[in-house]
């Protein structure tokens, strides 16, 4: 099935576009005749629109409105999506599977009266539009045919597609005047706190050193920080320790956290629940340290060490340091 227009729902992250937006644009360009983007932003709309153009959007539906800065979550974006869909009648609308994207997709689904498929890691257009997800910790691949009236609404996990370098393209900007219902504006953001760690970003780092319950105490994450810093890597964590409040959510790898694909992933005291492995099994090499020889993480490991991470990490740090000197 040939796809005509694909609409990518753009998201702002830090001061630019979210990486998943660029990944979606690259995939949309490979699949559709015409790629449009829709963006709801409090400010910098023109700069962001030209960035979207450089990444392949030929048209950007832009809803720029200062009051969006106080709106809670991604609901307002759904109304911009609704208006853009009315104008360009896309076959497919792509959302990133982020907090913002999930708000936008769920709300847009109701506004457009089309269901959504989420957790998608790949898309196929032949013989029909199929959205691919993985289940049971990434052991089975499920292709879901999306039928019914267009557009299909699909929510795609980050890192499913490679983003492309920006080109010389530019986008026509179509301005939307958002008419938001009262319920979307009723909640407001009173403050924000940044929890991002210093050093390489978890999702881009060539080495990820992750910890779980087996580290026994939040203070032992300092060992992971030290090792990661020496390997130019980033620190990750299992959901169990994030839920327990040991480290911020920004560290979480897995189904409800980040997907990482580093050259080397070192799992320390992580049992390897499906919730976790789905976010790291795409790593090139996996090293696992765990006291329990039956831990499922060993099924994925290229090098598995049955032992106590708290014994091994200090020695490993010393060895790596002596190599570096």
């Amino acid at each position: 099935m040939a796809l005509n227009t694909i609409l990518v729902v753009a998201e702002v992250h830090e001061s630019g576009l979210h990486p998943v937006t660029l990944e979606l644009l690259a995939k949309a360009r490979a699949m559709g005749t015409s790629v449009h983007a829709v963006l709801a932003a409090a400010s910098d709309g023109d700069t962001l629109a030209s960035e979207l153009g450089a990444h392949g959007a030929s048209r950007v539906y832009l809803a720029e409105n200062a009051e969006l800065g106080e709106c809670v979550g991604g609901f307002a974006t759904a109304f911009a999506v609704r208006d853009a869909v009315a104008q360009c009648s896309p076959d497919l609308v792509l959302f990133g599977q982020t907090y913002h994207g999930r708000d936008a997709a769920g709300c847009a689904s109701v506004l457009l009266q089309r269901t959504v498929v989420s957790n998608i890691v790949d898309l196929e257009s032949e013989p029909e539009l199929r959205a691919v997800s993985t289940v049971f910790g990434g052991t089975q691949r499920v292709a879901t045919a999306v039928t019914g009236p267009a557009p299909a609404l699909v929510v795609v996990r980050a890192k499913s597609f490679e983003s492309a370098e920006p080109g010389s393209g530019s986008a026509e900007v179509v301005r939307l005047s958002l008419d938001l219902p009262r319920w979307v504006k009723a909640g407001r953001v009173a403050g924000r706190a940044d929890e991002s760690a210093s050093g390489p970003k978890l999702e881009d780092a060539p080495v990820v050193v992750s910890g779980g319950r087996g580290l026994q105490d939040p203070k032992n994450f300092a060992l992971l920080q030290e090792l990661a810093a020496m390997l130019h890597g980033a620190v990750g964590a299992s959901r169990a320790v994030v839920d327990a409040g040991w480290v911020p959510y920004a560290y979480q790898v897995g189904q409800t956290g980040k997907t990482v694909k580093p050259t080397v992933y070192i799992a320390c005291g992580i049992s390897g629940a499906m919730q976790h492995t789905v976010g790291m099994k795409g790593s090139k090499y996996i090293i696992a340290i765990n006291k329990d020889e039956g831990a499922p993480i060993f099924k994925l490991a290229d090098l598995g060490v049955v032992g106590d991470a708290l014994d091994i990490l200090p020695k490993l740090i010393a060895e790596v340091r002596s190599r570096a000197n």
Binding site: C107, R192, V320
Partner: protein
């Protein structure tokens, strides 16, 4: 105040899952249905609100009738009653249909606050709370890490991609809570015994005025993904650190 908590009965997550039948739906036959562990945080949050303000918690769920037992756990924790939408026509329902049915049940019951988890542990669609907000047309604060209510103003710290946000919203509203937002209570013996006599009202989509249309998504293909090749497993005899360094050198990150 009346707090609605949306809960789901899911196949026991400690039993390996399986897709069965022509529609490739999750195997539920012969598998015990339990209250989704992620929902315990929502039930706890709802009970805490109702206890602080005076009021009650009503559980709303959709699923097969035999899953009513899973709701008993929430009743044993302290919820006053359950509403279970159970309809053979809803088997394999898509996310929008599920949300439409839940919203109809919630609207009929009435509410000051609706609490949900952020996603279910079996299906992970992760968009139902947002759909409920749009269907009920009340403000939503998703991905809450902590909540507090004073008079009718809810203050919520919510997770974002880069950190947290402090959101302020008035009742009525919807809040989706992350795992770890609180410490769910264990049902007491008295709670467990009392839950047996608490009402669970069952209803159908039709009785809620929801017309079911066919699903617009069908599983077309399920294929196994090749497992990663088994690697080398060693037991630490004091030399594991050296072995890891050797591996890191081989793959050129050292």
């Amino acid at each position: 105040m009346k707090v609605i908590v949306c809960v789901k009965q899911i196949p026991d997550p400690s039993v390996p899952g399986e897709l069965v039948g022509p529609a490739h739906t999750l195997q539920r036959e012969g598998v015990t249905l339990v209250l989704d562990p992620g929902d315990e945080f929502g039930v706890e949050a709802g009970l805490a609100l109702a206890e602080s303000q005076g009021g009650e918690v009503v559980l709303v769920s959709m699923g097969p009738e035999r899953g009513a037992d899973a709701l008993r756990k929430g009743l044993a924790m302290g919820a006053a009653k359950g509403i279970l939408v159970s309809d053979p026509g809803l088997a394999g329902a898509d996310a929008l249909t599920t949300a439409t049915v839940l919203a109809a049940a919630i609207r009929r019951e009435g509410f000051d606050c609706v609490i949900t988890a952020t996603e279910s542990t079996d299906g992970y669609s992760g968009v139902i709370p947002q759909m409920l907000a749009a269907l009920l047309e009340v403000p939503a604060v998703t991905f809450a890490k902590s909540i507090s209510l004073q008079d009718s103003t809810m203050r919520v710290k919510r997770q974002t991609e880069s950190g947290t946000e402090d959101a302020v919203v008035n009742l009525p509203c919807i809040v989706s809570v992350t795992a770890g937002v609180n410490e769910p209570r264990y049902p007491t013996l008295k709670g467990i015994l009392g839950a047996k006599s608490k009402p669970i009202e069952t209803c159908t989509a039709e009785s809620l005025g929801v017309a079911l249309t066919g699903s617009t998504q069908q599983v077309a293909d399920v294929t196994p993904i090749a497992a990663r090749g088994a690697g080398e497993i060693i037991t630490d005899d004091g030399s594991a650190a050296a072995k890891i360094v050797e591996f890191l050198t081989t793959v050129k990150v050292l």
